[in-house]
Amino acid sequence: MTAGAWLCLFSPLAGALAITLAGTRISRTAAAWISTLSVFVAFGGAVWSFFGLRSHGSEHGSLTTAWTWLESGGLKIGLTLLVDPLSTMMMLIVSGVGGLIVLYSVGYMHDDPEERRYFAYMSLFVFSMLLLVEGGNLLLLLVGWGLVGLSSYLLIGFWHERPTAVAAAKKAFVMNALGDATMALAFFVLIAHTNSLSFGTNFHVHMSSTATNLVALGLLGGAAAKSAQIPLHTWLPDAMEGPTPVSALIHAATMVTAGVYLIARTHPLFEQARTVELVAAGMGALTLLVAGLVALVQVDIKRVIAYSTMSQIGYMFLGAGVGAYANGMFHLMTHAFFKALLFMAAGVAIHALSGEQDIRKMRGIGQSLPWTKWAFLIGSLALVGIPPFSGFFSKDSIIAAALHAHWYGVILGIVGLVGAFLTGLYTFRLYFIVFGPGEARAEHDGEGPWTMLLPVGVLSLLAIVGGWIQFAPFWTPVTHWLEPAARTLVVAEPTNTQEAIASILAVALGLAGIAVAYLMYAKRSVSVPTRPKLQRALEHKLYFDEAYDALFFRPAAGLARLLRDEWETPIFIGETTKIGDDALWVARGVRRIQTGLLRTYVLFLGTGMAVLAIVLLVVK
């Protein structure tokens, strides 16, 4: 099974390298297929290790080290893979959904001149993501963490002639670098206390509570940055500058959910730092609310979906925060399915309109894209959490778990329920506007090549049935499967009644949301309430970008310019030359003594002698 893991990890890397080195010697299509193949091979590896783990029993996770990556003093960090239920699950999701999306890109990117580069980046991303989830120690996890950031940067900025794309890419990278930095700091604390970074061992050593809290905070910082949680979320909407499949893969299915994985992976630490864990939960709740609200007013189809992603991840954080790791992970999985589906369906539409993303201009595209319309509907229903679609099973269990937690849990649960209403509202606002009646038509007949439709179909199916593998509390194979890796806290083991309440309320609110959306945007019987101030605030995403610009970027840039103009140029570069000039000035003085008059010279000789004699006579 470890062999499967290695295969899973390295085949995408091999694909990326192959495409890079081959360069223009292979055709663009060939590059596309190499990449696709490599990712599906990875999926094969994932399946292999999954069944391997099954046969051993999921409690027997196993570590395998290729070589010592970094070693100094007592610190020894190997290139180590961990195959345990958690990582296997993530491997399956990443390589599976990834494979489908890469396949989708084969069609989607077909006309792009730099296809090769694109697919190399895609493979690289899949490799990094797999490294992240398979990494057998924190440092390796951080490596994967950074590399996904890198490849996300590359893919967001893929169309590098667009200044907006480049800017968005930079923004994403810098914010993630911030997260990396906080994680690194957390690791320094760990090293200082335990001189090790491997999972397991140092999670149960007894550090001072402050140290534990610091570590947890650092990790949380990383998680928030990667998963676009408030306040480190501003990069995600801009990231939509990238090609749609990229959004589907990185900014919906896999990378952005890494934060949840991190919390689940390091939950022993978080459990020793309850307050931080609650901060995580609160952060999730806040994000899901805010994102839901902002999503209501966005007009770019991808941005709307992006905000919904943020809010869904908010749910996951909420779940993980209250200790329902399994539920969080479960929602992560289903979310991967239906959110990827939504993105790709949207992608079909955008593709059909050759790049149009403004929903007001996309009105009525549904007529020419019937299948896509259905797929989008399925995705939306799953997102809102209407039974029997997958979202229902995962999301409600999170809310239920929250409700069962202490008093704060109740608040969080209620926020979650409000979120459910908002979800219904913005999702179907989008649906009714885009696929409602209108005059937009596809520019080419047919909904696209099979390479695009097949993944959409598969994901639609998964979006429906994906949730059926767990229906807490009656049937919990996922939770059970994850038991050894991320044992859900007893406190969050909900009772049937709560499950029932949660489900009923959530579904009801979701339906309410849909209804309101229907009235407003489909029948237009109810006019959209206009609160200009609020609306503008929401359209400006609550001014987060402006705030950061004013708070961080401008001061830094200003300081830099100040240093350059006030210090560097005049002092450190200018002053040195001034010293030289002073020396020369003195030199000219000395030179003036040399009058050329013989008598002066004799005078100096005589005076020198006299003075010397006096001195010697005095000191003798």
Binding site: L70, L139, G146, L150, K170, A177, T182, I191, R561, L563
Partner: protein, 482 residues
């Protein structure tokens, strides 16, 4: 007994070749190829040594000793510790690349040029293998002579001022070092770096330290740096920042800390503070620099600061990380300057305002610049990342804020490096970028790819260095907290 045993060969082979080149009236082509061959032979000798190096006992190896100034117990004593092995490797590889670059661009007055490059190679290697203080000092200054002429003759329009400032600045430091080492050596009666006892004289320590601080450079001794790096020919800037600057850091590692443990710990906070200042200040200025070389120059200034922090953290992590970081950054900045050179050859400038959009249709250039840039901003998984991680982990032992500052600087590094990448490669095509400006030619690839490949290898296995630095020698005398 193979060539590897003769560390002196590494020093005198290139110098001898330089003299041959100066004397024989060879053709431009012959001169260049001879120089490149010799520099490659250096690499070969080094590989031979690295292969036969016995890391298990970290002591001095391949050592040779001969009396020089018997009157004052000064000897010609060379040899390699594990870490010096890495420094030498960095030197020979980078020098080979830079010499080859000079050959590729066809510098005029080839005999003078290549002779000086080879002379420089020998001198730098000498610095890293010298085991006698005066010998070390001799090579430390010998580096300056070829550099002065290389910058002054083949440099840019402002070269005259730049060279004077560079030389005077560095000499100011190294002459005080001369005073210091006379004080030390005459006092203890030997200049040998193996038998020399530790001293607790703060003035002597400061004398040495100033020289190294100027060479590295640390804040605020960097006044010479921007002009020199901008005016020198690209390959010389590469040598300057990639290798020569490292001599200062090597000095701290080999002399300032182990020979003066008490002063070193007394001034620890001060030096670390200067390093931190260099780190932040350099990063900010790099973020504001308007040209590619400026960014690389200031970023290597910042890196020196970081490495100094690691060295003076006085921890094993810090030491090993510093050694790794020195090697990694050496390759990074060499590669970056060479790439800058190739860009300048195509566009006649490295001003961001006039560049842009070079990625389109130039995949090789784009890939190499991207890879190098990303490594230099220490993306997790890169060798630079491993180095910085260890350094900061070591610095954390002293106080948390060192690590915090370092982490902040990593973010800044991301900002200025991405700025370089996008300003050169991305967005609208710059006014000086002609369509017919070619992608990297095979010749250029042959120079730069090996450097990048080395970096990737290091990234895949940083432990190869960090586990074989042998800084234990240094630390034992410097009573370092493990």
């Amino acid at each position: 007994m193979t060539v590897g045993d003769f560390t002196s060969l590494l020093i005198w082979l290139p110098i001898g070749a330089a003299i041959v080149i100066w004397i024989l009236p060879l053709s431009r082509y012959a001169t260049g190829s001879l120089a490149v061959l010799v520099s490659l032979a250096e690499v070969g000798i080094w590989i031979e040594q690295a292969a036969r190096f016995d890391f298990s006992h970290g002591g001095l190896q391949f050592s040779q000793k001969a009396t020089w100034i018997n009157d004052l117990h000064v000897s010609y004593h060379v040899g390699e510790f594990p870490f010096s092995l890495w420094f030498v490797g960095l030197t020979v590889i980078c020098m080979a690349a830079c010499t080859a670059y000079g050959f590729w661009v066809g510098r005029d007055r080839p005999r003078a040029y290549f002779g000086l490059m080879l002379f420089l190679t020998g001198a730098i290697v000498g610095v890293f293998v010298a085991q006698d203080l005066l010998l070390f000092y001799a090579f430390f200054e010998a580096m300056l002579i070829p550099l002065y002429i290389l910058v002054g003759v083949w440099g840019g329009p402002g070269r005259l001022g730049a060279t004077v400032k560079f030389v005077i600045y560095t000499m100011a430091g190294s002459l005080l070092m001369l005073a210091a080492l006379i004080a030390y050596g005459v006092h203890v009666g030997t200049f040998d770096m193996l038998s020399g006892p530790v001293s607790s004289n703060r003035w002597i320590f400061l004398g040495f330290m100033l020289a190294f601080a100027i060479k590295s450079p640390l804040f605020p001794f960097h006044g010479w740096l921007p002009d020199a790096y901008r005016q020198a020919p690209p390959e010389v800037s590469a040598v300057l920042s990639g290798v020569v600057a490292k001599a200062g850091l090597y000095g701290m590692l080999r002399i300032a800390i182990p020979f003066f443990p008490d002063p070193a710990s007394y001034y620890r906070t001060a030096v670390m503070a200067l390093g931190a200042l260099a780190l932040v200040y350099g990063s900010l200025l790099a973020f504001r620099a308007s040209d590619m070389r400026g960014v690389v120059a200031y970023s290597s200034f910042a890196q020196s600061g970081l490495i100094a922090i690691g060295l003076f953290s006085g921890t094993t992590l810090g030491f090993d990380g510093a050694v790794l970081q020195i090697v990694a950054h050496g390759f990074v900045s060499t590669a970056l300057f060479l790439i800058a050179g190739t860009v300048e050859r195509r566009t006649t400038t490295d001003q961001f305002a006039l560049l842009g959009g070079m990625a389109r249709g130039r995949p090789a250039l784009a890939t190499l610049l991207l890879t190098t840039g990303v490594i230099s901003l220490a993306v997790p998984g890169s060798a630079a990342f491993a180095g910085e991680f260890l350094i900061l982990a070591g610095a954390y032992h002293r106080a948390w804020w060192w690590a915090a500052i370092g982490a902040g600087a990593i973010v800044l590094a991301a900002m200025y490096m991405l700025r370089v990448i996008s300003a050169v490669l991305h967005e609208a095509r710059g006014s000086t970028v002609a369509d017919e400006a070619l992608d990297l030619r095979p010749g250029e690839l042959a120079l730069i790819v090996p450097l990048v490949a080395t970096l990737l290898v290091l990234s895949a296995w940083p432990a190869g260095i960090t586990h074989h630095t042998g800084t234990a020698i240094v630390q034992t005398s410097a009573n370092v907290t493990p």
